[in-house]
Symmetry: none
Subunit: 186 residues, 4 copies
Amino acid sequence: MSVGTRERILKAAKEEFSRRGYYRTQISHIVERAGVARGTFYLYFKGKEELFKELLLKTVSELRELIKPVELSRDPKEQVRENLERILRYALENEELARIVLFRACEPELSGPVREFLNSIVKLTEDSLKKGIKMGLLKEHDPHAVARAVVGAVKETVAGLIEEGGDPKELSEKLLSFSVGGLWRD
Amino acid sequence: MSVGTRERILKAAKEEFSRRGYYRTQISHIVERAGVARGTFYLYFKGKEELFKELLLKTVSELRELIKPVELSRDPKEQVRENLERILRYALENEELARIVLFRACEPELSGPVREFLNSIVKLTEDSLKKGIKMGLLKEHDPHAVARAVVGAVKETVAGLIEEGGDPKELSEKLLSFSVGGLWRD
Amino acid sequence: MSVGTRERILKAAKEEFSRRGYYRTQISHIVERAGVARGTFYLYFKGKEELFKELLLKTVSELRELIKPVELSRDPKEQVRENLERILRYALENEELARIVLFRACEPELSGPVREFLNSIVKLTEDSLKKGIKMGLLKEHDPHAVARAVVGAVKETVAGLIEEGGDPKELSEKLLSFSVGGLWRD
Amino acid sequence: MSVGTRERILKAAKEEFSRRGYYRTQISHIVERAGVARGTFYLYFKGKEELFKELLLKTVSELRELIKPVELSRDPKEQVRENLERILRYALENEELARIVLFRACEPELSGPVREFLNSIVKLTEDSLKKGIKMGLLKEHDPHAVARAVVGAVKETVAGLIEEGGDPKELSEKLLSFSVGGLWRD
DNA sequence: AATGAATGAGTGTTCATTCAT
DNA sequence: TATGAATGAACACTCATTCAT
């Protein structure tokens, strides 16, 4: 068989979870969509919760790999923009996973990996901001508060991309331009 | 009785929903916390879903009232900052409601009012940006993309305030300063 | 007050039970229709079941009183017809009670009084038939089987009167004529 | 397995419904009697009400098939008697179903199919009576009133057969003889 | 590896009844 | 007498999981 049973179930689960959320998605929805029997599901996954967490962990780990550390040898703004673009592109190409991470992981017991990921991104951003400030490149903002704001701006941009479509490259440029230059003309 | 039964149930429900989310919260959790009998719950609320929606609708409607339109007679930046401060203060004083709206309203059937609210705020922001651009006050950004980014920044700042604490006034200033002036020194 | 609270409740209960049946009728239906508070109901009745049984017992006892023993000094057929007419008239004037007894007393624990009443009427009819046979007035039918048939014919005629209306006197004549003379012309 | 799960549940349901009536019968009664788990019930039936209605519909449809139209080529009385016998025999062989239809289908929302069936039988009887009158075989009775009476007599005879036992053939003869010839000797 | 019938703990909701006022 | 807020036992139905085949 060209595509394994496990992959069929994973694909079906992504679709169902992203449409219905964790609690409204039933095992029967998943196995029907995957075209396998109920029992087969439990040959590949310990249960519904484990499967959901696996999807979350896989996604945040892939997202993490998309974020490359900024090197001093190249323009840092461009590198940040590339990171943004990669994330936006990933969300566009993995819409269901992005939807699950952004909108469907809200019960406390399930959202742990996502919250950790976001916190680590906030931390990463904060450290970069601190570095930029120290190097004199950035204004003297409160790095933590601004890091949260920036991460929030990115999250919402990703959400917008998923809901309304758009071009990852352009959006990354707009987001960067706003973050870097602010709104005010003067 | 100094405090009504309905209020006791509402308070307990806010606490439970904000801690456990909609699906993990059972009626028995709510009535036990409220110190009333199971049947009493149904004297005041049609059911679990209705109660949850009531909490969501009440919150977004209160949030909406906190946002005052910007008047031309005063400094617009200060008015925007006041709006931000009011929202942050509300979230701090109504932590449970804020947590429910931000983190616990994610199942598609329940999150409708919240999504509508956020979309309306994005629209409002977008219109303000357009006006500011037309008046020459703001740079020529894509108003829609930037509006999403700004709303995302606010959302995440609210989330940070709830999770880590902070001062609404200071945070509103930091948020405004970042949005207005951007990160870059030059 | 011209009409007592107890009577108001009884009246409301008759209406509700006859429309909805025992299980679909709730105490709240009865007290709302009666215009009294929930608690008041329990000042006058021990509970829902007791009230229902009271209605049944009252009705069958009133029905019983309508059936006069046949005297030898007058035409027996006319006396039977008068009994029938009285029963039909009672059903027409007490439609709700009749409906309850005929259609709404079907759960085993509730229908006891009605079944006993019907059995006693079958017995009464049977005895009359036996007497009539002994006196040479009636054909030599199986008295028990025929008594059931006759009682069934009366029951269904009462039901028809309630559902479709009609004149008690005429119906009693038709019923008697059928029972006495049968269908066959020859 | 020699007998299917669905049949086991149906059998148990017939027994419980016929003994306790619709509302007093709990799903737990049915599944315990059937020897299956609670959830198994819902694999085969949508719910308690649907199952009850299925039993009613099945029974009235089977009863309907037992009633053969009277042909002109044979003695009409004998054909009517055969119809009666078939119905009585069915009731005897399907005591639980007969008991449900006769005694347990009394709540307005549930009794619809039974009422329709009885009305159609009254109509059928009425039409036959009219034909008989037109052909000069029967006396000039009010066909509708007499049809109700006849159907009532049959119903009660069925009830008596179930409660007290008896021979379908003999009972059909007695019932016919009473209906055809009446009670009066002269 | 795959099936799908069977399981049973869990949960939202109802409604007759009580009791403090 | 009358009230009506409060009670809590009861019940239908769901659905993740198991297991014999």
